[in-house]
């Protein structure tokens, strides 16, 4: 076996011009398979880590998946808001331990702004019970004195180079237009959160009252012409929020989740919806699952095509190798040695391609991780290859070995028929 391996290596190297292309295409297939799998896995883990310890999420009655997406992941927007008094009514259920309202809709230079209560910083958990930690400064006060205070996530601070005391201006909606800014009421950064690897890092947190304040002189998404309320005067108005986007609810006993959910769902004052985060996530994965499977199928197809290229290339070269095979027969190799030789050549090419592809996948993930973190708040690539990645890699190599048996078998037959005197 060992002499055959050395022979196969030399033989493959001799043909490296064409085999290099084949190897490269196998590498590409492996790159696709492995990095897509890593992406899928990491996105899933990231989503799962993003919320913990919250029993129910309440929002206006719409799609549970959509509610999860905008309330937790800040992706997309709410279709309608809910009234604060409805929220207080359902939160008065005796099984409810705490309730944190969330108000979304504004942004700051592409980062979403979250209006909430200071209790958010106590109650919100991520990654299996980890609390939010302030890297610098403190929470916003949530009182009228500290109205225009903001706490920013780690990615906002790092991406925009902000520190404590930074003055920022919030934009209405997703921003973009100069007229959409609440320029007359700037905020001051009083706290910077430690990195969590979740969408929290991309968020600017302010109090609910502050959100009310900056919209006092706005109607229907645009500033009211001729009306300007100065920042200090805003506090004279009633800044208690009337409407919010969603709320997080924690219960005294997790077993009561169905009862409270039903209580919210059947609330008569307003169409509301309560969602179990875990269940909604699973629904999301079902939806996404179709796309994942399509991507996987495509990657497998690429792998099949590249292996077919391997088979075709080696088969095509067999014709002119018949004399070579006769020489091998003459020095004492049998047809099965010839088969082994050809199969080993193909295996070596596959192995090289697979290793290259795996290395490229790892590099690609490392290279893309900062961008993905900044744009989507998802952490990529932390850790060793997953079991599924190993399985995919092994499958590519195994398929390559099997594919190499095809030219191996052909060479076997040729060698048997030709003996020492090939026709070519």
């Amino acid at each position: 076996m060992k002499p055959l391996l050395a022979l196969a290596a030399r033989s493959a190297w001799h043909r490296r011009g064409t085999l290099a292309l084949v190897s490269l295409s196998i590498a590409l297939a492996t790159l696709l398979l492995l990095s897509l799998e890593r992406l899928r896995q990491d996105v899933r883990t990231s989503f799962v880590q993003s919320v913990s310890g919250t029993d129910l999420i309440v929002g206006a009655r719409a799609s549970p998946v959509q509610l999860m997406l905008y309330a937790v992941f800040r992706i997309g927007g709410a279709t309608s808001n809910l009234r604060m008094d409805s929220l207080r009514a359902v939160a008065s259920h005796r099984a409810v331990a705490w309730m944190v309202p969330l108000s979304l809709g504004d942004s700051h230079r592409g980062f979403p702004v979250l209006g909430t209560t200071p209790e958010y910083f106590e109650r919100f958990r991520y990654g299996q019970g980890k609390p939010l930690v302030l890297a610098q400064g403190q929470r916003f006060a949530g009182t009228l004195d500290g109205l225009y205070e903001a706490v920013i996530g780690a990615e906002v601070a790092a991406g925009l180079g902000y520190g404590l005391g930074q003055r920022i201006v919030l934009s209405h909606g997703s921003g973009g237009l100069p007229g959409a800014e609440h320029a007359d009421k700037p905020f001051g950064v009083v706290g910077v959160l430690a990195r969590t690897g979740t969408p929290v890092d991309r968020t600017v947190h302010v109090s609910l009252q502050a959100i009310e304040a900056i919209h006092l002189d706005w109607v229907g998404g645009a500033p009211m012409p001729g009306l300007r309320i100065a920042p200090e005067q805003a506090r004279k108005f009633d800044l208690e929020p009337k409407q919010v986007t969603a709320a997080l609810i924690g219960l005294k006993s997790r077993v009561a989740v169905f009862a409270v959910q039903r209580h919210v769902n059947s609330f008569e004052g307003e169409p509301l919806m309560a969602v179990l985060p875990g269940v909604a996530l699973d629904e999301l994965w079902q939806l996404v699952g179709l796309g994942e499977r399509a991507l996987l199928a495509m990657s497998v197809l690429v792998a099949v095509v590249s292996l077919a290229g391997l088979v075709a290339t080696v088969l095509a070269g067999l014709g002119e190798r018949r004399r070579e095979l006769a020489v091998l027969r003459a020095v004492g190799a049998g047809p099965r040695h010839v088969l082994a030789l050809l199969a080993l050549e193909g295996t070596l090419v596959t192995l090289l391609g697979a290793l290259l592809g795996a290395a490229a996948a790892a590099l690609a993930v490392v290279a893309a991780a900062p961008w993905v973190q900044a744009t989507l708040g998802i952490t990529l690539g932390g850790g060793a290859p997953t079991a599924v990645q190993w399985a995919l890699w092994a499958a590519v190599v195994a398929a390559g070995i099997l594919a190499s048996l095809v030219p191996g078998w052909r060479a076997y037959r040729l060698s048997l028929a030709d003996g020492l005197s090939p026709r070519s």
């Binding site: 799962v48 989740v257 039903r262 179990l276 269940v279 996530l281």
Partner: protein, 203 residues
Amino acid sequence: MRAWLTALALMAALVLSSALPAAAQTGGVVRPPVVPSTAPSTPPSPAAKPGAPRTITWEDLTPRDWDPMKDLRGLDFGILQDSDPRAQAMLRRLREVWDNAPTNPRMDGQLVRLPGFVVPLEEGKDGLLEFLLVPYFGACIHTPPPPANQIVHVLPRSAAKFRSMETVWVSGTMRTVRTDSLMGVASYRLEATTVEAYTEKPR
């Protein structure tokens, strides 16, 4: 759709078969093949061998002497129309009763094995860290949820890789937990040693 009807049928059977003779006139209620289904009069199966979990059914979680229809006895369902407000009110009262369904004290500390559907609560990188076990499909958003003593809060020893609404066998020590005194009600918690996929044949 069929699961929804099945769930309703099971609930109806539970309610009607426990007390009202009038309801029996609706004819032989067919027992739908819901995952852990046995006739309510079956006694709990004996322990297979000492130390091994005892396979139980969801009926075992309800105390024998509990009668949810106690307050509502005497009402004849036959006379009520579908959207009769009395039916709504009765349904609401029934729900309140179910929300306060008591636990079976004899279950506390027992090593048991119970099949059910998974409702995820906390998920980690490797799987579920906490989930609820419920007796029938759809016990989350659309169909009426189970009574309080038919929901088990499961804490698996190691992360369990299951998705929402998958069927599993859960084995471990059942505990009745006194929740906040405001509720005044206890609920079930199971510290699961194993969580495995459900197969038809009970072992």
